[in-house]
């Protein structure tokens, strides 16, 4: 195992359910779950292996905590032009499009702002001096991206955390579809997608948990009976959603905030100013055909602050917002 000790051991556990199997594992600092509606355990194992290997591969390749990752390689390049593969290029192009679509509000080079913002519920607001010191090292426009290479100015850093998990969900669904036409649900810490409806054209029931009760707003499939029983005790106001097609992704995190003089600072940072977005919903869950699209719609909406819901309505997105 080459990854560091932040990640728990890479193992899979299976459980037979009323209408198929669930497999759980840990990746990307989140509990992960695959549900497959079949009674053939061999098929379940085959799909699960493929999917979990893919998720772990993406984690290894793009985690900024893994010093051997492509991400670390880029971040440690000290201003040198370095070679990248096609997958990395496509992810960076996607990040660039999100940067452009958001008018610069979303920026995968903004991760270093977390060096001065600690969203721990305290009153520790970053100072203008801190922000002025960091901001010169934020900005996608300072990066030179070529189809085979990237040049990241020294002192800057990229963070694929804004869509890495959602990307892994979509890759997992694509891979499972190559093997089986049976219904599959992939849930990586609350960002999830289905290959299609359950047998008999039935929807998957998923719960969008109330963020107040959890560190992360996560979505857990509802046909996992045991898990659901415990959740029903611990959470309130879960929204149960019947998902037929597509993906759900949640952006936002109510426990991570700062509060000073009655003002609540969300953990969502404006990459242009270095300040938190004000009056953003606590969390937004969006529905889209692909998970990466759902996640980005939710994130871009949060960046609109008090206009988050209006933004999603104008874009005709189905969403659930919590304030």
């Amino acid at each position: 195992m080459k990854n560091n000790n932040l990640i728990s051991p890479r193992s899979l556990s299976f459980k037979a359910q009323e209408q198929g199997y669930s497999a759980t594992f840990h990746a990307m600092a989140s509990p992960c779950e695959i549900l497959i509606q079949t009674t053939e355990l061999n098929l379940v194992k085959k799909i699960t292996k493929l999917v979990s290997d893919e998720v772990w591969r993406i984690e290894d390749k793009y985690s900024r905590y893994n010093k051997d990752s492509v991400c670390s390689h880029i971040n440690n390049s000290a201003g040198q032009c370095i070679t990248i593969d096609e997958e990395t290029y496509l992810l960076l192009i996607f990040a660039q499009q999100c940067y452009q679509l958001s008018g610069g509000l979303f920026d995968i080079s903004a991760g270093i702002l977390n060096q001065i913002w600690y969203f721990d519920g305290s009153e520790n607001i970053a100072t203008s001096a801190d922000i002025a010191r960091i901001l010169p090292f934020v900005g996608w426009d300072k990066i030179v991206l070529q189809p085979n290479s990237i040049t990241l100015p020294a002192g800057m850093a990229l963070d694929f955390g804004g869509f890495g998990k959602e990307y892994a969900v979509d890759r997992a669904i694509l891979l499972s579809k190559q093997i089986t036409a049976l219904p599959v649900l992939v849930n990586l810490g609350g960002d999830l997608a289905v290959s299609g409806p359950r047998l008999g054209d039935k929807a998957w029931q998923v719960a969008i948990e109330a963020p107040e009760e959890n560190d992360r707003a996560s979505v857990t499939d509802q046909i996992n009976t045991d898990q659901r029983n415990t959740e029903q005790v611990s959470t309130k106001q879960d929204i149960i959603v019947a998902l037929h097609h597509g993906a759900l992704a949640t952006s936002g995190d109510s426990k991570r905030y700062l509060a000073k003089k009655g003002k609540r600072y969300s953990h969502v940072l404006n990459a242009l100013t270095g300040w938190p977005i004000e009056q953003a919903p606590r969390s937004i869950t969006a529905l889209a055909p692909q998970c990466i699209q759902a996640g980005m719609l939710a994130t871009l909406a949060l960046l609109q602050g008090q206009n988050a819901e209006q933004f999603l309505s104008e874009q005709a997105v189905t969403y659930w917002a919590r304030r």
Binding site: E18, I240, H245, A288, A316
Partner: protein, 450 residues
């Protein structure tokens, strides 16, 4: 506001969703056309409410409120409650035929009279009723591929009480692509009309209802104060998923009704040779009826073409031992309009055609001295069991809010055209409307919230 205004205003006119869809497609190597997304909130209780307004030209007006609550439990058990309250007012045809002179009738209660003008179809305008109906249904999986359901029904009107129970079993097979279902229901209805139940073939008493002997004379036309009706239905269904675009459903149903099946408010005109009314007698129907029907339905979803619409077509053939046979063609066409109005909306036109033959004992009127000797004396002039055809034409528009709540409005026009099933028309009726057309407007507003 500290967030960038430039970002916000610049984006206003960009279709971010479409741009992200293309970007995601490029990243994942899928075409942007791939994939749709569909989800709705289930929550604890899903409440559906509907208001329905039905109005026949010059006749009955009905207003109905339906509130239905669905709760889905952990293991896919579903509890459903449905409360229906409707109120009916207006006039209903009493069965008598139009005449070249005004006609006087006694109200079903025996309390007073009403007069029908020259040439008009006689309508009893005393209809006023409020019905409260309560249904409860529990559905749960009982084993792999087996789903069972039981329910109860209670319906109360001023002069009517209906109690019912039902049970259903559904079995899925072929990877849930096929479902066989078996249903059973039993109802017991008690009818307690004001003024009691009239004696079949007895002449309607017409005269001075204030006279001291009136009550006693009226009581002579009555045989009981209440009566019962029992209905048992058996349904056998089969549904089959043909492919991901098409599903089909086939049903066979058998229904047997026994007890008091006569309508105590309906009379039959007794005419002389010239067609002039001599008398009105109370109708009589058999105390048994066996109905059977077959039903087929197909739903087809046009994935790419035809605006992604869904066509639903069904046909029902019903026959019974009263010799009524009916054909029903029903079709809806669902058009999603999601990209037109910014919300998930749809338009659904509806067309229905219905045609039925008359019951063997149906007679629009009888003649003095004969008319009761056939069909064991059973006779009814109720247009609803006569020969007729009907058409319904309308559309429904609905949309889903971002929070998953649904709103819809349905507007329909209904026209029922009774026809002559070969009865002789005496000279006195030649210029009168014996088979009046019934026209109605139906407006329904529905709201589902979670």
């Amino acid at each position: 506001m500290m967030n960038s205004l430039s970002g916000k205003s610049a984006k206003k006119h960009i279709n971010v969703k479409a741009a992200l869809s293309m970007a995601a497609g490029a990243l994942l190597g899928t075409t942007t056309a791939v994939g749709d997304a569909k989800a709705q909130v289930l929550k604890d209780w899903q409440i559906d409410s509907a208001f329905l307004f039905y109005s026949e030209a010059d006749r009955v007006t009905a207003a109905e409120v339906i509130i239905s609550g669905n709760r889905t439990f952990i293991n896919d058990e579903v509890l459903n409650f449905k409360l229906t309250i409707d109120s009916l007012t207006g006039a209903s045809a009493n069965g008598a035929v139009a005449q070249g002179q005004a006609q006087t009738f006694t109200r079903p209660s025996g309390d007073g009279q009403y007069v029908t003008p020259v040439g008009d179809t006689p309508l009893d305008d005393t209809f006023k009723d409020t019905r409260v109906q309560l249904n409860a249904q529990w559905t749960q999986p009982i084993a792999d591929n087996y789903t069972a359901s039981v329910g109860g029904h209670l319906s109360k009107e001023f002069d009517y009480l209906s109690l019912g129970i039902n049970a259903n079993l559904a079995v899925d097979f072929d990877k849930k692509n096929s479902t066989i279902s078996l249903g059973f229901s039993h109802f017991q209805d008690t009818f307690t009309p004001i003024g009691g139940i009239p004696k079949p073939h007895e002449s309607m008493l017409i005269g001075d209802s204030n006279s001291p002997s009136w009550d006693e004379e009226f009581a002579h036309t009555r045989i009981a104060s209440s009566d019962n009706k029992y209905t048992t239905d058996i349904l056998l269904g089969f549904s089959q998923v043909i492919n991901r675009r098409m599903i089909t459903q086939f049903n066979y149903s058998f229904s047997t009704v026994s007890g008091y099946l006569t309508d105590p408010f309906k009379i039959v005109s007794v005419l002389n040779e010239q067609g002039i009314t001599q008398d009105y007698i109370y109708e009589q129907r058999p105390d048994e009826r066996r109905k059977q029907s077959i039903f087929g339905q197909a739903k087809y979803h046009f994935d790419q073409g035809l605006f992604n619409s869904v066509v639903d077509f069904s046909y029902r053939y019903m026959w019974d031992d009263w010799q009524i046979k009916s054909h029903t063609f029903d079709s809806t066409w669902y058009f999603p309009l999601s990209n037109w109005f910014g919300k998930q909306s749809y338009l659904q036109p509806h067309l229905r055609y219905y045609q039925q033959s008359a019951a063997e004992f149906y007679q629009p009127y009888i003649f003095t001295g004969h008319g009761l000797e056939t069909n064991q004396g059973f006779v009814s002039a109720d247009y609803r069991i006569g020969e007729m055809h009907a058409i319904t034409l309308g559309a429904k528009y609905g949309f889903t809010f971002n929070n998953g709540n649904d709103f819809s409005v349905r507007l329909e026009y209904y026209q029922q055209t009774p026809t002559n099933a070969g009865f002789d028309v005496p000279a006195g009726l030649e210029n009168l409307t014996v088979y009046p057309v019934v026209q109605a407007i139906i407006l329904q507003i529905s709201y589902s919230f979670l």
